[in-house]
Symmetry: C2
Subunit: 225 residues, 2 copies
Amino acid sequence: MRPFKKYCNGSYDFLNAESRSRSIEHVARTGRPREFDREQTLERALELFWSRGYGATSIQDLVDALAVERGSLYGAFGDKRRFYLEAVRLYWEVYERHLTTALDTSPLLPALREILTHPVRLDELISDVGVPQGCLVGNTTAELVPQDSEATEIVTRSYRRFTDIVAGALRRAQAAGEVTDTHSPEAQAQLLLYIVQGLSLVSRAGLGRPAALAAIDTAVDGLRA
Amino acid sequence: MRPFKKYCNGSYDFLNAESRSRSIEHVARTGRPREFDREQTLERALELFWSRGYGATSIQDLVDALAVERGSLYGAFGDKRRFYLEAVRLYWEVYERHLTTALDTSPLLPALREILTHPVRLDELISDVGVPQGCLVGNTTAELVPQDSEATEIVTRSYRRFTDIVAGALRRAQAAGEVTDTHSPEAQAQLLLYIVQGLSLVSRAGLGRPAALAAIDTAVDGLRA
DNA sequence: CCGACTTCTGTGCGTCCGTTCAAGAAGTAC
DNA sequence: GTACTTCTTGAACGGACGCACAGAAGTCGG
């Protein structure tokens, strides 16, 4: 299985900073030191959850894949649900960082097209088995929302952040005359959320890449002023 | 829990015809007659699978909700997986029938808007617990595709039928000058598939209805010639 | 070296899962 | 009535699940 970083070429500086401060905090504490890297283990668990889903990933699967014993996982992450939700949060942090930097350009539409085609390009990598499928936030939505209130909160916030970021970029692009202002940036951003989530989902069924790209071009051209 | 028919106001003639021929076939057979209505039980199981998902619905849940004992379910539907897949097939048959009749009109765009807003209106009903969430085909995609090859086949065919039907309607509307021909009907239909699936998924998180309607209007206006 | 503290390791617990099966009940065919 | 077929019922099975716990192992301040 490929490492998590393979799927998102975003910066990991904030992760390094986090683990650094965490290890400082760790050295200060007494007791036997942890033998595994918590952040790295979380990333690998994220991959597993991503590719199999929450319910279909058993603790035993995690123990086998992470080479960390049961009790250690429970000690470091709490129960399975907390473990999963922390992985989802990490996933979104990375994605949001990627999204923010990618859309901070002018002209906007090429970057937007890049963002939208991301799931398709991810899909291209899926010749191996056990490779992540779709968007983890979308998968979580399908599996746990709205039954699990904490998952619902994470998912809702993620969607909200997506539309906020995209709407902000669209607002600037509207002002620059690049994007049509026949509809509000918020409505356009909401539509783009649907498109990227729908694309992530439908792409699992392995439809052809040309059809997906044609559909995305249709959407992007619809935004053009 | 509301009956399945509540969620799809389409015609059930084909279902009646099916159960009629099935019961004729049944009378011809010897042995003890089945004490429950197979089609009705399948519909109720469909509701349960729809609201909880495949993995989260246990055989015990089905036994309790359907008032049919384990052995009878296994005798009538085979194992859990076959039961679920048959429910998904039924779901799509009903939806496709609804889609076909709804889009056989002119002008097309109001009907298309109706189709797209369907998940939102479904979402409005969700004040009760245990009410269907999203689109069952989409849920199946998230949970079983591509691991389960038979589920993948059903899902892929359903998506293909959707784009075929919608592309046909768009082609007619393009010829009538109602829909823009800057992009092919196939690309437009593929985009609409993404939108409706994304909307079904995201709506689970219970975002506001006005935002969803604004996004749909943006999409529909983008198709206008 | 020592006691306090944390993590590691492996075993085991109770529960629920999907599935099977045997025995009885309820029909049809002749 | 008898043989045959199918459905119903309820118990039981093996396995996997999430999770808890006791003891060993390692690190600290003193």
